[in-house]
Amino acid sequence: MMPTLADFGKDVWWIVLIKVLAVFVFLVVMTLFTIWYERRVVARMQVRPGPNRNGPFGLLQSLADGLKLAFKEDIMPLKADKVVFFIAPVISTICAFTAFAIMPFGPIVSLFGQKTPLQLTDIPVAVLLVLACSGLGIYGIVLSGWASGSTYPLLGGLRSSAQMISYEVAMGLSIVAVFMMSGTMSTSEIVKAQAESSQTTVPDVLGGWSFTTPNWYVVLLLPSFIIYAISAVGETNRAPFDLPEAESELVGGFHTEYSSLKFALFFLAEYINMVTVSGLAVTLFFGGWRFPGFGPEHAINQGWLPVLWFTIKLLIALFIFVWLRGTLPRLRYDQFMRFGWKVLIPANLVWIVVLAGIKTSQNTDNLLWAIIPVALLLLGALFWPSKKKAVEVPMEKQVAKRPAGSYPVPPIDLEVPVSPRARRITAEREVV
């Protein structure tokens, strides 16, 4: 049975307790697993084996790392603000965990004789809770950077917060389309809204055959999903958007001064955030815990099995995170911010207006409403200010402008010598 919003808030207290513990353990285990998974996958992409010593396939590597971190010295810099330095990792951790409270894992099952949905809880503003938690999580980062009393963490923390709030706007806007389609913000209802499959028929010209597509929002709202995926990577500070931790510029970013278990908490929070945005992507765009191609009443979508489907989808999403890290170089900060503010946000707003137009014209059977946004778009494109061309100042004038006593300028018509490699290639060609 697919749970709806009305099924929540009826659990006995010990069921709630079990579920809270289960979500907590799931997140910790997922973190340990994801760290290992990432290291293994990245290692494979770089043609090396990766951690393979501790436990089968090196699965216990991250557990060993965690334990080792616990037995390291806990250093607090002299200049640090003691209280805030202490509290910042706790803020990060709390926000990371709490965001996962509304993630749907499966349908209603019976647990020790009690019927209960496989989801900690669901509220009418569930997705808003995730956004709120990720917004509050920024406090942990900016406060840790500020409280360290050191230059690099301060810059790293500021960068990180600027990046996260910029991409939070894009992320928040990309979800609007999902709410428009499903008409709700509760995660269980969104999963339910994606349950039906729809029959798509190819036009007769192309053969006229038909096939069923899952009613996933990734199909119906592809632009939203693309924007969500990009901003999720920016939001979690992951490569290629891992600018707050750009080692060559900022050492370790906001957690440079942190060590021991405090550092471990930041690490935990970062990976939990990754799991959360992946889980949210699965829930909002990939039909949640449901196996595609089978009806909601099919045995494959009943009982405890859906937890497995959810986890598999989650791992695929996490694999893409790792894939990006293994493939792409880091962006420059100004390019990154420009992309967020000048591309993602306007594209998102335009897409929302177009979608609203299409939906309105569907609801009213009047094509006019779909034409309005398109006309507005064309009008906007027509009046879009084009970039001013930079005025080219001739080299002589630039040289003349320099104050007296400046360094001598090399001759302007200096020719760049042909590179030895190019010369060699030309020579080889001539020999052949």
Binding site: E73, I75, F100, L128, G149, Y152, S161, K262, W369
Partner: protein, 121 residues
């Protein structure tokens, strides 16, 4: 729908808070402690730390500007959410209203763009 659906969130919040506080509080006792003056200095690639003005030092105004812009757009999002949820009930009226609202924000947005508020350098 009662408030009881919110209780598990508080539960998870409390558990995570207890876990975080415990880890942070336990860290100094579990790990070793060997005093070294240099260790307590701010990390700065091995040189003497640069003296900072009181209060953590100054930072580029760009960050402040980004935060201000964020507020504008975040409020826009908060307006869009309830509208999106009840989109099918609002009909043509809701659509036209939201188009007008988005255009208004867009005018401010182009203004900021033209004034260079979105350029990082």
């Amino acid at each position: 729908m009662s408030l009881s659906a919110y209780v598990p969130i508080v539960g998870l919040f409390a558990l995570a808070g207890a876990f975080g506080l415990f880890s942070v509080a336990a860290a100094p006792f579990i790990g070793p402690r060997r005093f070294n003056r240099a260790k307590l200095d701010a990390y700065e690639c091995g040189i003497e730390p640069t003296p900072q003005p009181i209060g953590g030092g100054r930072f580029p105004v760009k960050f402040y500007l980004t935060a201000m812009l964020f507020i504008v757009f975040d409020i826009e999002i908060i307006f869009l959410y309830p509208w999106a949820v009840s989109f099918n009930m609002l009909g043509v009226f809701g659509f036209v209203e939201m188009v007008i609202f988005i255009i208004t924000v867009f005018i401010a947005y182009t203004y900021v763009w033209r004034r260079g508020g979105l350029d990082w350098d």
